[in-house]
Symmetry: C2
DNA sequence: ATATTTTTTTAGACAAGCCTAAATTTTATA
DNA sequence: TATAAAATTTAGGCTTGTCTAAAAAAATAT
């Protein structure tokens, strides 16, 4: 059984590694966990001893198959709770992340099964992120960050990367939510800001924003 | 802000003291927390320093007004979550206690307000226990344990004291749930077992059971 | 009233998870 | 390639919450 801290580290490693695609450095992890590098090294050793991550001194860590499975279970719980908070308790999508960070650690397989059923087996959370199934399987749609598309692009918003409350409030204001149609009219070479159409309205968004919007390919 | 352990101790002290009516001894608390007396003494000192409990060495502890308020907030959360689990997720009343023990520590005042609203502002939980309001106020109905009533008693079940899963399953089987009408036909002098009528059915219950059933006066 | 038993407290230790400061290894630069 | 800078690890320490063993206080029995 994993402690709360262990679950949080594992989840962070999973996310930072892009589903295991690249190794995660100690300082990266320290930043993302709001802790110090020395503390990270301590925890890394514990997770490594439990064979949840691979660890090569000075060269970073990554999740093992076992570790990835555990991380996905936590992510599943997080996303189901976020869905519950928005769909059933009428929270807005910018309010739910912090609460779900707590709820994701509740231990009860039956609870998650029942919650999943209560919500009608949702496949994505309020931010458009896919919800892993009970076995940790995720269905990922082909997607690309909005800052990578070319002028003239037409597609649909799939998800939003960052869960920062201010970003989400802003995106809601301009209508940039998962499921919405989106077009790119122009791209400013100087700062890579985009002129886009959302809900028949022209809007300008900076690169800082556009890189957090994931759209269909 | 209180730690998880502190909240649990405070809640235990509140319950064992009967809402502050009597002092709680170190060993009592150790038993109820499944821990050792020495550990209890340590924690008692911390809670006492925070003025959440009064502590007289060797003579036990009790909640202060501040401590009682905190305990009631935790109890409010516990009972709201139990209600959610039974009413919305279709858990049976014998399954919810353990899960609510975890959920009661989630920190988010907004979450509890919204949950309360979602549930339609319930006043009692699935075991018949009253749910404190946002300010910690409880409405307690006059009640008495079933083992204290005399032959011929007629009334209604208000609540069940123990949350032991086996007891609850048994009570459900014989129809002894909050809200049900109940009559006492006879009391056996030797072991104080009772012959009762529930749902037009005669049943015998031992004193161990009857003392856990709270009925109208 | 004194001795024995029970209860409670104190003393000292340990694991988890964090920290700072120092040492080490890797990377970047001259 | 030698050296400086940056990243990482190690060493040692702190807090929380737990434990065991010993000491002290209270309750009980003789």
């Amino acid at each position: 059984m994993l402690s709360l801290a262990e679950e949080n580290y594992l989840k962070a490693i999973y996310h930072l590694s892009d589903d295991g695609a690249k190794d995660v450095l100690t300082n990266e992890l320290a930043d993302s966990m709001n802790t110090k590098a020395a503390s990270v090294t301590d925890m890394i050793k514990k997770l490594s001893a439990k064979e949840l991550i691979t660890y090569k001194k000075y060269y970073g860590v990554n999740v093992t198959a076992k570790g990835k499975g555990r991380a996905l279970q936590v992510i599943r719980k997080h996303r189901l709770w976020e869905t519950f908070l928005v769909q059933k308790l009428n929270f807005t999508w910018d309010e739910v992340h912090e609460i779900a960070e707590q709820l994701e650690h509740i231990r009860s397989p039956r609870l998650i099964e029942k919650l999943d059923e209560f919500l009608g087996f949702p496949t994505v959370d309020p931010h458009g992120d896919p919800i892993p199934d009970g076995k940790g399987k995720i269905k990922i749609k082909p997607q690309v960050p909005l800052d990578q598309v070319t002028e003239g692009y037409k597609g649909t918003i799939i998800a939003v990367k960052d869960s920062d409350s201010n970003l989400l409030k802003y995106l809601e204001k301009i209508g940039a939510m998962p499921g919405r149609k989106i077009q790119v009219i122009g791209k400013e070479p100087y700062d890579e800001s985009l002129e886009i159409i959302l809900e028949n309205q022209k809007v300008f968004v900076s690169k800082d924003v556009s890189k957090n919007i994931l759209v269909t390919e």
